[in-house]
Structure formats: C-alpha cells, structure tokens
C-alpha cells in the first residue's frame, strides 16, 4: 500500500480544477527531485506550476507559487518530504501578485485548511492521519484540492473591473461525506462542494471499458456492474452562486449556528441568506445615511454568535461594536448592545479615529467573549460589559509615534485579523516584518514570533523576537526603524482544537505546530 499512498500524494499535488481538461485520470508523474534543481510540470493548458515545501522539525511551511509560461523558471519541487528534511530550493519570492494569500480558514475539525488568494484561487490542504510508520509526517498538511473560485468580472454599468480576490472563506459544518465552503470576493458569494471519489463502476452491459457502445449481438448474458476502487479523486463543484446582493464591497461572511443561513456584510449593509436560496436575501442591517454627505462610518467586520442563532455582532470604522438580536426586529438597525471604549484623551491625535477602526471581530469559542483588532491593539470584550473591554493587549505600541509616516504610506489602513485558540486562553494576531504575536490571557505573557524562511531553521523551535525602541538593545533585536512594513501578516488562523496555526505571509503559507504541547491547556 506504500505505493498507493505515494500515488495519492502525487494526485493531490496537482491542480484538480473542475474546469480544466486533464488527460484522463493519469496525473503527470514527476521524478523524485534531487536536492537542488528540479523539473517543472505543465498542466493540460500549458501552465506551469511550482510547488515547494520545506520541513523543519517543529515548523513546516508550504509555498505555493504559480507562474504563467512567460515567467517560467525551471525549478519545481514536488510535494514530498518522506525523510523530513528540507529538500527544495525555495523560489517563491518570484511569485506574481496573484499568489498573495488573502484569507486562511480551518474547517470545524481542523482536518482541512483552506486558503484564498488574490487571483481568485482556493487551495485546500488536508491533514494526513497520523501513522506510526512515518512519525515525521504526523499531522502534516498536504494539498488536497485546488480550484478557481472567482474570476475577474467586468461591471459594464459602472465600467469597473470586479476583483477576483477571495476576501473570505468560511466552512460549513460537515453534514455528510462531502465538505462545503463559502468563498466570496467583493460582490459574489459561492458555495462549493468538495467530494471524494475513490470507486468507479465497472462491468456495464451496454458500454465497454472505454465507454463505447457495445455491439449488442455480442452481449450474451447480463452482469451487474461492480464498484471497483480507483485512485482517489477530489472533485470540487459550485453548488450555489449568491450574486447581486451587494452594492458595496463584501468584507465578511459568517455561517449561522443553525446551519441553514449565513450573513454577508459590505461597507454599509448586512444581508441574511438561506444557503439553498440564491435569488434573494434579506437585508438586516443598513447604515447608509439618507444623505450620503452624512456618511461618517462604515461596517468593517461581522460575525454570528457561535451558539445563539439570533445574535450577531458587527464592528465599525469608528471602533464600536454592535450586538444585534434578530428576534427584536426584522431590520436590526438598532443594536441590542453597543460596545465602545471612550477615547483616551492623553493619546488623542488626528489619527485617533483611524487607529480605533476595528479590522476584525471574533467571538470566543465559548460565546462569552469577543476579540477585536484595531491598528495598535487587540481587545477582549465581555458580552455583559459594554463600557470597555475587559482586556487590552498592545500589539506594536512602538508604532504610536510613527502614525504620521504610516498615514503617508497608507500602512495605517492595513486590516489585521485576530484569532482565538481552541480553549480561548490564547489570542493571536499578525504584525509587520512578518512578525505575529500571541498573548496568553491567563499568564499575561506574550511572545513575538517571525514567519520567514530565514528564521525557520531545520529542526529548530521558533525563536521569540523582540523589537527595541532605543535604549538597551540586545543581540538579535530588531530596531523599529528597520521593520519591513511591506511584510505584513494580515491573515492568521488557529486550529479549532490543537495548537496548530496557519500564518499567511504575503504569498507564503506557514503552518506551525506545537510539538511539545499538542494538547490544549
């Protein structure tokens, strides 16, 4: 069965896009690459795909790189790391802009991890079941399926191109053998169904093996077709397209705990959809002023409560959170609760509003708390206390004196996401210079880590980083002025149960695992 396992890996290394024509079911097989320099593999349409991966002991990462034929460079790595060594020459800095990862999301069990990118593609990774034979590949994520979710569209009325960039992906809770997810760009949400096929029927009466009709005179007896095993194939198909629901740009989607409805939010409105109905949606929040001159606030993020299907929250560009109850009224313009922290007069500046704009809001798994991210901090809010957050953590306070420059280069408008761990005891968010931060709510300790190839040496644990703001400078400290503001970690995700995190750094995806403490504490 060892060979079958190899074949399965190879199958999923390549792009199983439902719209591509592949030559039969035989994947293109690459020779196992030498340590340096490998060959490239074209798909049936003549496009070259580069995949490389590097395994380090407690960390490993994937780098998915796609280039069109004119950018073709003759280096390709096959997705294989049986020995647990770093075996590929990394070449992903050449990645085109379309490969920039724009969203990362684990499914409800953590078995699958989906990423969306600026080019409208979705890549799904699947965690290999742990096997005693290969301890190094325990729990490793491999490419499971890849498909083109959204294409660029042209809005003829406004003469505008609608970007294909995937803004958000949300998994539906699994209800049968298939997996389903919602993916959205600025305007259109799509429901995708991911199914596996590992058997095919053989022994038809009227058709032969190639599908040609048999000469009926040769058929002397009837047979019952039997299901024979075949190489596993992953098929992704679009099941619903929810279009024309939004005038403005969609920034969030959230599946309700009732598993029947979901909501989508744009800058000014939130719509409620039924998963089975695509031709209409129900508008539940509308903050568009009667007079557009009076527009001073937009919706920045929204999410359904994990347990109460009538409750949802949305955040605004002014730093407020509104908890709404759909039982109270059909149009939830009046909030049930308003969470807002008064401005700190000592920290006031022209940029106070911009840095208070909430870029992400997430309910805790317990449903008791909410986590918000604004430009400089992450805050934990108790649903029972509206006046201020119960905890505030500084992500990169050293940027407070640099707000002017960050306003000039637009970095001050960057939207960082945040995440809870499975037990709601640790929170995580990204920062600049490929740094990301974790805060332990119980011990009040925090750590800064870096997601980069250089710092991820083989068989090494990630080393905590430190940013120094002048004064004493330790070895390996980074000075504030040397931070690279083009390397921002906007998208992060935490496995729902284990200490596994997925970090998107531009066009690289890093998956880090806590080997020492796999269990949650």
């Amino acid at each position: 069965m060892g060979e079958d396992a190899d074949t399965r890996k190879i199958n999923h290394s390549f792009l199983r896009d439902h719209s591509y024509v592949t030559e039969g079911n035989t994947p293109v097989v690459l020779p196992h690459p030498p340590a340096q320099g490998v060959s490239a593999c074209p798909d049936a349409l003549g496009r070259y795909y580069l995949l490389d991966a590097e395994w380090v002991d407690s960390t490993f990462f994937w780098s998915l790189n796609r280039s069109s034929p004119k950018n073709f460079t003759p280096y390709l790595a096959l997705v294989e790391n049986m020995e647990g060594e770093s075996i590929f020459e990394v070449d992903s800095e050449d990645g085109v802009g379309a490969d920039i990862i724009s969203t990362v999301e684990f499914n409800h069990t953590g078995e699958l991890l989906a990423t969306g990118d600026k080019g409208g593609r979705v890549v799904i990774f699947q965690r290999e079941p742990e096997s005693k034979n290969e301890p190094h590949s325990q729990g490793e994520y491999n490419v499971y399926s890849t498909f083109q979710s959204h294409e660029p569209e042209f809005d003829y009325l406004k003469s505008l191109e609608i970007e294909e960039k995937i803004n958000k992906i949300k998994w539906l809770p699994q209800q049968n053998a298939a997996h389903s997810l919602l993916s959205t760009n600025d305007k259109t949400i799509k429901l995708w169904k991911v199914t596996e096929r590992d058997k095919r029927p053989e022994g038809y009466n009227l058709k032969d093996e190639e599908g040609k009709l048999k000469d009926l005179s040769t058929v002397t007896s009837l047979q019952v077709p039997v299901l024979k095993p075949m190489d596993l194939m992953v098929e992704v198909s679009p099941r619903r397209i929810f279009a024309n629901g939004h005038t403005y740009h969609i920034n969030s989607i959230s599946v309700n705990s009732d598993c029947e409805t979901y909501m989508s939010a744009d800058d000014l409105r939130i719509n409620l959809w039924h998963l089975a109905i695509t031709d209409r949606s129900f508008n539940i929040v509308d903050i568009k002023p009667a007079n557009m001159e009076d527009l001073t606030e937009v919706i920045t993020a929204s999410e359904f409560h994990p347990h109460h299907c009538n409750l949802f929250v949305y955040s605004s560009s002014k730093g407020s959170l509104r908890l709404c109850d759909m039982r109270a009224s059909a149009l939830c313009d009046k909030h049930s609760k308003l969470f807002e922290e008064p401005e700190d007069p000592s920290n006031r500046s022209f940029f106070s509003e911009i840095i208070s704009s909430v870029s992400d809001v997430k309910f805790s798994h317990s449903g008791r708390f909410m986590l918000t991210r604004d430009y400089l901090t992450v805050k934990v809010w108790d649903l029972n206390m509206e006046t201020k957050p119960i905890e505030t953590y500084q992500v990169h306070d050293y940027l407070r004196s640099k707000l002017c420059s960050l306003y000039e280069n637009d970095c001050i408008f960057d939207k960082f996401e945040c995440a809870w761990n499975g037990s709601d005891s640790v929170i995580m968010t990204g920062a600049y210079n490929n740094f990301f931060r974790m805060f332990d709510r119980n011990t009040k300790r925090d750590v800064t880590l870096e997601a980069s190839r250089e710092s991820s040496k083989p068989r090494a644990i990630l080393k905590p980083r430190r940013v120094c703001v002048g004064g004493k400078r330790r070895k390996d400290d980074i000075s504030v002025d040397s931070l690279d503001f083009t390397k921002k970690i906007l998208h992060t995700a935490w496995h729902p149960a284990e200490n596994i995190i997925a970090i998107a750094a531009t066009n690289n995806l890093y998956i880090f695992q806590d080997k020492v403490n796999s269990e949650m504490h």
């Binding site: 191109e161 000039e408 040397s482």
Partner: protein, 221 residues
C-alpha cells in the same frame, strides 16, 4: 490617463502608486530614514491637510474607491480642518505635536475655501471631466517649494480651483443601486432603493442598447 474601465496591470498600478507617493514625499516631508535614530518630526497640520487632500484625490481617481479608506480620510480631514480653523483665529502656537488636544468641536461647516473635491461623482458623465481636470490641476495643489512655514495656515487659495461644492455629494457616486433596481428587474438587489432616475418600465431593447452605449461611451469623452 487611463479611463475608469480599463484595468491597469498590477505592476503598472503599483509603480504609479509608488511614483505618486514618492513625488509627494520628496516635495513635502522628510522621508523616514532607517539610519536615523529618532522618529521623524511630526507634520504640521497644514501638510497633513494637503496630504489628506491628495489621498482623497488619489482614492477617488481609482476605479472603485475603497469606501472605508475614503471615509477615514475624510473624517481625518475634517478634524484637521477644524483644528486649523480654530488655530488661525487666535495667535498661532508653535508647531503642534500630534498629541495636541483636539478642540471638541461639532462638525463645523466646511469653509467655502476648503470645499469638496468631487461632487460631480454623482454623474458618471461628469466623472471623466473631473478626472481630466484633476490631472491638470494636481500641480496646483503642491505646497510652495519654499517650504512650509508652520506658523502660517496652508495656502488654501491654490486649492480653491479644485474645490467646488463642499464635501456634499462626495460619496454620491459610490451608491449606484439606483441603477441596479428597475432597469433589470430580474436582478434582485438590496431592498429599498427607490431613487430611480431612469424610467425602468417599458424600456425596450433598442433603448437599453442606446443607454448602454451612452454610459459606456462616456469613457472616451
């Protein structure tokens, strides 16, 4: 200047963004130098004001403006403007630091001299005219090359040519749901938009085509 409908290649767009920004930084602000130990000096409100106006220009020139970005820049502009208006009457204090407490002023009506950039965004036809006029007028919005005197309010006079009607109608263009509604009844959009300027009923195909041509044809005006 590319028309609104043509999507520039990502590399071109990024280059253009960079060069525009570089130009701005060269002219007015000391670029943050990694070698410098201290953080850069805070910009005087007048420079910040000009910077915000530039951002507004730039943001609105893009194919489809980022509403959040726009709203935040406009709100910041209003803050700066109120602060400058209040400071221009009493004797000018020394260059205010960013932590200067803001006057708690209600949304003061914008001065006529600091009126809006783009209120003709409400008409697609007008947009192209606006765009072309902006590209000509941008050089006028440059602050004087002699350097800014922090004690003096920004030379608003040069901006008057650009600013016409105040910030009214700044966001009018963004919402085209009035077009989404009646004209194509099989498309279901958000409920409630009834502001239709176009008679949706009884349009036949040839009228529809003509209308489409007009709308798309304005690109070339």
């Amino acid at each position: 200047m590319l028309g609104k409908g043509v999507k520039r290649k990502r590399e071109e767009e990024e280059e253009e963004d960079l060069t525009s920004q570089d130009w701005w930084l060269e002219e007015t602000t000391p670029s943050p130098n990694p070698e410098e130990g201290a953080s850069p000096a805070p910009l005087p409100p007048s420079s910040l004001f000009n910077l915000s106006i530039f951002k507004l220009h730039h943001g609105l020139r893009r194919g489809e403006p980022d509403l959040r970005h726009l709203v935040l820049v406009v709100n910041t502009l209003r803050r700066i403007q109120s602060s400058m208006a209040l400071e221009s009457s009493p004797p000018e204090p020394p260059c205010p630091a960013p932590v200067d407490p803001l006057p708690v002023a209600p949304d003061a009506p914008l001065c006529t001299s600091v009126s809006a950039l783009l209120d003709d965004l409400s008409h697609i036809e007008g947009l192209c005219d606006t765009q072309t006029s902006f590209s000509e007028d941008i050089p006028l919005s440059r602050p004087p090359e002699t350097g800014l005197d922090p004690g003096r309010p920004a030379p608003l006079g040069s901006l008057e040519l650009l600013l016409e009607d105040g910030l009214e109608g700044l966001f009018d263009d963004i919402d085209t749901s009035m077009y989404d509604c009646e004209l194509w009844p099989n498309l279901k959009t958000d409920s409630g938009e009834t502001e239709d300027k176009i008679q949706g009923q009884g349009l036949d195909v040839s009228e529809l085509d003509y209308l489409m041509d007009v709308l798309v044809g304005t690109q070339t005006l």
